[in-house]
């Protein structure tokens, strides 16, 4: 998915990005994560893809942690 946004203004640490073409919805974006050379009024492109591999890896890590925590808790309870 590709979004076109307008950098409408900078408010403190945030850039207000308006989603084109209707600009009804806005995104507050940390100013420190803006590309070099942008200014108020710049039109930017945001590309978004699902990273299936990264999602799967994170899911596996979390499930493993949940298992380990439950195992640990069971051990604690067994020793009581």
């Amino acid at each position: 998915m590709t979004l076109k946004v307008t950098l409408d203004r900078i408010e403190g640490d945030f850039a207000v990005l308006l989603i084109r073409p209707d600009e009804i919805h806005e995104i507050s974006w940390p100013s420190s994560y803006l590309p070099h050379g942008v200014r108020e009024g710049s039109i930017l492109t945001i590309h978004m893809d699902v990273d299936a591999q990264e999602t799967q890896a994170a899911d596996t890590r979390v499930r493993s942690l949940l298992e380990k925590l439950q195992d640990k808790q069971r051990c604690v309870e067994d020793t009581k």
Partner: protein, 295 residues
């Protein structure tokens, strides 16, 4: 025959009488909306953004900014609830979306006689849509520059204090100013009372305005840039000497508006602070001498 002629005259006189009474009744109703011989200023609660309605003693209307695009319906509703079906003068202080977005709905729904704009180029679709509507509707479009007077009502003087009309090489030329600093700053005078609408200008412009010597003592100051730390310097407040400071700001906004240092400065300056995030829509009236907060 004579009797018939007399009856016809009687009918004519009665019809004219009813028509005159009816019209004057309507006029009175519109004037009394704003209060006869009163200037009414309504700071419409549009969340994060500005929208200020001025109603003059003769019933003329001026809308300064319209909040974000999503606030447009609320602004139109606020105008209609006051019986306003026409905007005589629309001012957009600068093209940020939290100031001009809601003006699009107003332009779509109500006739607007004229528009005053900073003419600071900005490439948002919001600004483009707003300009397109003005163009398509053949609305007279004026670029507001310091020294211009906006004619609206003989008893109310509205002066543009900023931005200046300068050569392209001047650091204060519109192309060189930031979007906030390109804000149209207005002074509204009615009798001995004055209101200063500071748009979103920041300290650098506040200093320029002090240096230029055109700043009035204004009993009411619409605080610049939603109470951001970028604006409302002590020097500026000392110059304007506001008795009432109005902050147009959204409840729970993530930008930290208004800044606590600005609130401290206003308290130190002795100004009563009114905030749209706390008080909702704020209505002030002047009789030419004194400002009253309408409950």
């Amino acid at each position: 025959m004579k009797k018939l002629r007399r009856l016809a005259w009687l009918w004519l006189v009665v019809t004219l009488f009813v028509a005159v009474i009816g019209c004057s009744g309507l006029t009175q109703m519109r004037v009394s909306e704003s209060g006869a011989d009163l200037l009414t200023v309504t700071f419409i609660d549009v969340g994060q953004g500005d929208s200020i309605l001025i109603e003059t003693p003769s019933g003329k209307t001026m809308l300064v900014d319209g909040g974000e695009r999503g606030a447009g319906d609320k602004v139109v509703r606020a105008l209609r609830e006051k019986g306003i079906e026409r905007v005589n003068v629309m001012v957009s202080t600068h093209p940020h979306a939290d100031h001009i977005g809601g003006l699009i709905k107003v332009l779509e729904k109500l006739p607007v006689d004229s528009v005053y704009d900073s003419a600071k180029p900005h490439s948002s679709k919001t600004y483009e849509d707003y300009l397109t509507l003005i163009y398509e509707k053949d609305i007279p479009f004026h670029i507001a520059r310091a020294g211009d007077e906006i004619p609206i009502d003989d008893s109310v003087k509205i002066m543009v204090l900023w931005p200046p009309d300068t050569d392209a090489g001047n650091p204060c030329h519109i192309e060189k100013l930031s979007v906030n600093d390109a804000s149209v700053v207005l002074c509204v005078e009615f009798g001995n009372s004055a209101l200063l609408l500071a748009g979103d200008v920041e300290a650098i412009v506040e200093n320029e305005l002090i240096r230029g010597g055109s700043l009035p003592n204004a009993q009411v100051l619409k605080i610049a840039h939603h109470g951001s730390i970028t604006s409302s310097t002590d020097d500026f407040l000392n110059e304007v000497k506001p008795k009432i400071a109005v902050i147009c700001v959204g409840a729970g906004n993530r930008y930290g508006h208004p800044h606590k240092e600005v609130i401290k400065s206003l308290i130190y300056a002795g100004a009563e602070i009114l905030r749209t995030d706390i008080h909702g829509t704020i209505v002030l009236q002047s009789d030419g001498m004194t400002w009253t907060v309408k409950k």
